[in-house]
Symmetry: C2
Subunit: 205 residues, 2 copies
């Protein structure tokens, strides 16, 4: 059985929802960030990066949200979570998840994780100050150019949906009014009403 390592308030929420939507057979394992377990020797054996999510299968351990999401889709084809038979559509989907991990999540991370890129407290404060603008710019681009509706890729639910949902739940904390992005806000509301999402949110609560 798959073991899924997660912590609340992290991007692990996206893969966790995808596992539920796929009907996967998996055991969730909570990593306690308040005790710094993600940096403990036991967890570093699982993921030397000291981060979540991580997905342990009988063949080894997978990390990185875009990789885990596509793996879930490929190993649960009946759930139809990605356009696996169409290389161009799959690349469009991958472009969306790559943008979320390399740009949107990174913009957000400058609020709580500034020490990754600077040590001086004044610089860390300055990064925090700019987060509402940078996160807002990302969501404005997604709203205008990338989000098709009603789901990210159009008519069909895919692995991009729980990932966008996860990052959209951080908007208020990042000092951004989600009402500025009506399509993405409506998506967030619809997503939160899905049974799989409600179940996972309760586990993260």
């Amino acid at each position: 059985m798959l073991k899924f390592f997660f912590a609340p308030h992290t991007c692990a929420l996206a893969s966790h929802i995808a596992l539920e939507e796929a009907g996967a057979d998996y055991q969730p394992v909570r990593v306690d960030f308040s005790k710094n377990e993600q940096r403990g020797a036991d967890y570093l054996k699982i993921n030397p990066k000291g981060r979540v999510p991580a997905l342990a299968s009988d063949r080894g351990i997978l990390t990185e949200t875009p990789a885990i999401l596509l793996y879930i889709a490929q190993t649960h084809p009946k759930a139809r979570l990605a356009p696996l038979e169409d290389a161009f559509e799959l690349a469009r989907l991958q472009a969306f998840t790559a943008y979320l991990c390399s740009t949107v999540h990174v913009a957000h991370a400058h609020r709580m994780r500034g020490t990754r890129w600077a040590d001086d407290p004044a610089a860390i404060e300055e990064m925090k100050r700019k987060v509402p603008q940078t996160v807002s710019d990302c969501f404005a681009l997604m709203e205008a150019e990338m989000f098709k509706g009603p789901f990210v890729m159009g008519e069909t639910f895919t692995i991009a949906d729980p990932y966008l949902f996860t990052l959209a739940t951080w908007l208020e904390g990042d000092g951004v009014d989600p009402a500025r992005f009506p399509k993405i806000l409506a998506h967030r509301t619809r997503m939160s009403e899905r049974p799989a999402v409600a179940k996972v949110l309760a586990a993260h609560g």
Copy 2:
């Protein structure tokens, strides 16, 4: 025919090499960053993000290096640039390319592109100061935990190889001595000797 939009000294090098290694039929189009063409109205119609790479096919335009790389591999299966028949191995490959785009490239970007995340010149300087450490930490992790050798994923050349090669060519500029990572340095040397790589480097020169 595919049109591939690139600029020298960017991560577009990775996809450009992959196109050559795949034997793809494509037309390279150079975007002149010195004239800020990537922010011009014509290019923003191609890629509203104002970045390279972008790959135009008859079905539309793709962006984001991990997405373009997998698309090249999937549409040129004879070149065997990814383990397309093995979801777990493909996920391991994707975890590597996701790490490169979300963490390694981002660490590097704090040297030249600090204005993405801060406006205050002192904060931008502080980010630059930390780049040798953050980039070094990324390469140390890849050298110790992720790079199999002789290629990224082991015995077989994949799309991860030109991507790692691209970021490894930035090490000296980032103030990091590549000799600290002997496996990755040897990989960089071997890669630079491949005919496809030499051809693309000449086009970027």
